[in-house]
């Protein structure tokens, strides 16, 4: 039978059988982690010239459990690092990682390189609920993070329900169109609500353009959701590779395509919603980081997902560093930086890797 013949040919010195596995190569992972560590140290330094990178490293080591080290920093400097810089860098890293990974997940599920984490109405939903919280219910229990989270989840669910009830057989095209419809509609409502309280326009826009200065409170708030979403997404790398051959063939390989898609969508949307809740609508990370990763390290989702997580984190930490140093003491909104710096960077990577990928 086939099994015997096939293994018979392969047990020898078959060159084909030793082809490398599709998971992320250790070298790429290590490289990405080094970049992230460097970005985080740079982010901790941030502009205060009297602290050296080495002091930051020693001080961070001192904060770790079971480690005691003296960086020679004054209490004020320690406080600055611990209360302001560290949570800011961590929040930027978590949000960047979440958005990039969610973007990769959406691109896999929709088999569409243009898919981003806001495709299904997460951004519009969050925008609407945040505006409602700021304009209609100021000072109530509906804080901005809670409103944004609820709005993002609500927007995605609305799009999903519309897309799967009007579509013929749960195809992805209807889902994308439902997302477009939900986004337009919710944005219109958001603009309307916004007009009711024009004096709050500044606050709303500041939120929309993104901010990762929420402090420890928001880091703690986002971590449980982030951990859950990241875990679910990471383990679905192989399934997303199978989905790449199309629903029908995936079914023929014994995979329930619609179920995989739903699980990945839920996890990616949870990642998006938690990122949006603590940082506003930071654009471009979710679309550009997975593509750069693909160009450099290959298209398998088993490497795209973890490398997007790390790369997105590094990217947003650096973007935040630029945002708060370039016109210091004033700050640029981080969403402006991601687009202003990210777009040329993306074009540069596309040119560099020309001819190596699609």
């Amino acid at each position: 039978m086939l099994a015997d013949q096939v293994t018979g040919t392969a047990t020898g010195q078959d060159p084909v059988a030793v082809a490398k596995p599709a998971r992320a190569r250790p070298l790429w992972l290590a490289g990405a982690l080094v970049v992230l560590a460097a970005a985080m140290i740079a982010g901790m330094l941030g502009g205060a010239a009297e602290i050296s990178p080495w002091q930051v490293v020693v001080q961070v080591a001192d904060w770790l459990p079971f480690v005691s080290a003296d960086a020679g920093l004054a209490p004020v400097e320690q406080g600055l690092l611990y209360e302001l810089r560290l949570p800011r860098v961590l929040l930027a890293a978590v949000v960047g990682g979440l958005l990039a990974m969610a973007g990769a997940g959406y691109q896999g599920v929709f088999r569409n390189p243009l898919a981003d984490p806001y495709l299904l109405g997460a951004a519009a939903g969050a925008g609407l609920m945040t505006t409602v919280a700021v304009v209609l219910l100021p000072g109530s229990a509906l804080t901005i993070p809670v409103a944004a989270f609820a709005g993002a989840v609500g927007g995605v669910l609305l799009a999903y329900v519309l897309g799967s009830t009007t579509g013929r057989s749960g195809g992805t095209a209807t889902l994308v169109l439902a997302g477009v419809a939900v986004t337009s509609f919710l944005s219109a409502v958001q603009t309307f609500v916004q007009q009711l309280g024009v004096e709050e326009l500044r606050r709303i826009y500041a939120w929309i353009l993104g901010d990762v200065g929420g402090g420890w409170e928001q880091v703690r708030m986002v971590l449980p959701y982030a951990a859950l979403a990241v875990m679910v997404l990471i383990v679905h790398g192989r399934m997303l590779d199978v989905l790449a051959v199309g629903d029908e063939e995936a079914e023929a390989l014994g995979v329930r395509a619609a179920r995989v898609r739903l699980v990945v969508l839920l996890a990616a949307s949870l990642a998006t919603a938690s990122a949006v809740a603590v940082s506003g609508l930071i654009g471009f990370v979710g679309i550009v980081v997975p593509h750069v990763v693909r160009r450099l390290a290959g298209a398998s989702y088993r490497s795209v997902l973890p490398l997007s997580l790390i790369g997105g984190a590094a990217f947003l930490v650096l973007a935040d560093l630029i945002a708060r140093t370039v016109i210091a003491p004033a700050e640029l909104p981080i969403g402006v930086v991601t687009m202003f710096v990210g777009a040329p960077f993306f074009v540069a990577v596309l040119r560099m890797t020309r001819g190596t990928a699609t």
Binding site: Q5, A10, V16, M239, V245, S300
Partner: protein, 258 residues
């Protein structure tokens, strides 16, 4: 090996398959022929179990299709579609390795054995040197073999091929079908193909099933089905049919028909 009774499928309010049955012994090659829109692909997909709602029953290797879990079914039936979606950046090896999916748990990963089997299949199809190439860089004939490699990596006893020769030149058509024939005899595979080319169907298949308007209008050995009457009537074509090598008929199109 494959036993199907009264398969009927409605798509978009139209009945595309009407009470078609199949009864195939192990090792048989069945070619489904018929004009465009006759329901050939639908029949193949109904056997495969990816058509949402159908009436009738499919029994695969003595097991009712409805009771099979997707993974169990995928270990019995391997499928190569007419226009496979080939992720351009995936390597040939990783693409063929997808065929091992039915043997890997939901969150699991490929074992060494999965990789060895895939490597063996590639070597067997003469694709050993292609393992590291990207799927998007292959020619039409190479692509068809890579898709076949993925299907064979499934190690299923039944091979379902939807138009395996589409877009291939004469030589590559022959190559692919010879390959399928060799696999069938060597491994005892049961093969169902849809084929547009009637002569090719007559050359390779043991049995032809002629579908027209969703109904099975003729079935039998090639000389019984490839007759001027049947082909002329159901394809609305003017043809001349000659007895070919081994008693297998050759179908010629004649100018000035219809």
């Amino acid at each position: 090996m494959i036993h199907a009774v009264d398969l009927s499928v409605r798509l978009g309010g139209r009945e595309v398959l009407h009470r078609v049955g199949l009864d195939m012994p192990r090792g048989e090659w069945l070619a489904i022929i018929g004009p465009n829109g006759a329901g050939k692909s639908t029949l193949l997909k109904t056997v495969l179990g990816v058509v949402g709602h159908h009436r009738g029953e499919v029994v695969i290797d003595g097991r009712p299709g409805r009771e099979l879990k997707p993974r169990e079914r995928a270990r019995l039936l391997a499928y190569a579609p007419q226009t496979p979606a080939l992720p351009p950046d995936m390597t040939v090896f990783d693409y063929a390795l997808l065929g091992r999916t039915p043997y890997i748990s939901y969150l699991g990963r490929e074992s060494r054995r999965d990789r060895e089997i895939t490597g063996g299949v590639l070597a067997r199809l003469g694709l050993g040197g292609f393992a590291a190439r990207k799927v998007g860089e292959l020619s039409g004939g190479e692509r068809q073999r890579v898709v076949l490699a993925r299907a064979l990596a499934q190690q299923a006893p039944v091979l379902l091929l939807d138009e395996p020769t589409t877009a291939l030149d004469l030589g590559h058509q022959q190559q692919v079908l010879e390959l399928v024939d060799r696999l069938r005899t060597d491994d005892g595979l049961t093969v169902i193909t849809t084929l547009h080319d009637l002569t090719l169907a007559g050359q390779y298949a043991d049995t032809l099933l002629l579908l027209s308007g969703g109904r099975a209008v003729a079935r039998g050995a090639p000389p019984e089905v490839l007759t001027g009457d049947l082909v002329g009537k159901h394809f609305d074509a003017h043809v001349m049919i000659e007895p070919g090598p081994g008693g297998r008929p050759v179908v010629h199109l004649v100018r000035g028909g219809t």
